[in-house]
Symmetry: C2
Subunit: 189 residues, 2 copies
């Protein structure tokens, strides 16, 4: 028997990524986003949704660039902090002790300590209601070289990204591997 929850944004899993920008003074800032995901393969693109009231909103429009920084489990506290504080009255990098690294490819900083970074150039923004979705073309993906698997690809079990459960507001880690995409389903019959 299913219980109805009404018209609410309840769905699992969502990510917990930190979207970083420079403000008009050149100060590095970041905000945690769960309303985000890949939106296109070619051009490769990510969408991140930001409320108009957020300090990052104007930074995104002005700089037309952002990075998506993937925290590992050990940075869950910092990731959550970036979702609580506001860049209007806080230097989140200074307060958290994290390092703002200037991207050489886009006009945005990234978090040096985080293991996986996606550098984006703003190509669209869509006003959807209280959130505006900012779509960034992926210019580069950078991953710590000690977080790769034997094939040289990013290893999710080494990166250990966060999973966020909205409504219940809980962060989780990644669990055990369950099978390979485009293979598991072939064993159905």
């Amino acid at each position: 028997m299913k219980k109805s929850f009404g018209a609410k944004t309840i769905i699992f899993p969502t990510p917990a990524w930190v979207v970083c920008t420079y403000d008009s003074n050149g100060k590095a800032n970041g905000m945690t986003a769960a309303w985000a995901g890949v939106v296109c393969s070619e051009p490769p693109a990510i969408g991140v949704s930001v409320r108009k009231s957020r300090y990052s909103y104007q930074c995104l429009l002005d700089r037309k660039a952002f990075t998506v920084c993937v925290p590992s489990e050990k940075y869950a506290r910092e990731a959550d902090y970036f979702g609580i504080a506001s860049g209007r009255d806080t230097d989140k990098f200074m307060e958290s002790g994290l390092t703002a690294v200037r991207s050489e490819l886009v006009d945005a900083p990234y978090i040096g300590e985080f293991p996986m970074i996606v550098e984006c150039r703003l190509i669209h923004h869509f006003d959807l209601g209280v959130h505006t979705q900012f779509v960034g073309e992926i210019i580069d993906v950078k991953v710590d070289d000690d977080k790769l698997n034997d094939d040289g690809n990013p290893d999710i079990e080494k990166i250990r990204p966060l999973v966020y459960a909205p409504t219940v507001q809980q962060y989780h880690g990644i669990g055990p591997a369950l099978g390979r995409g485009y293979r598991l389903g072939k064993t159905l019959k």
Copy 2:
């Protein structure tokens, strides 16, 4: 030291959700989507990106409705199958043995066995390149009543949704709880 992977859609985690529609003959169909996420809180909305070549593409445009069905770990094989087969030449529900339940709220079916269902009415579609992003306003969220926590809210550890790692094409389960959103970060200092 970070290694560059270039302009690729590599980011963790992404979801593995099955987007269900009716085709022009009224046949229930579904496709697995990892390029998807919440995009707005008010109106509550989800975005799912679909290639023009997919059978679901025209179904979404014609029916202007879809459901997002969240598989639990035990349905990882079926979820992957829905990403491999095409509704053009297959009845995926018949082949997989899953049950297509007609939504009473939108013109789309949902997968009865999956623990979490989001029913959506199409409100936007954005041509982004090889993918079109379909944005659906959430009309209702339904969750199996044995998958709720003591507060009556959906419990991610009971629902056990899939996490997908693109590029390495691996499904994972949910790991241990790491802390509460909007609370963990307050302990930073």
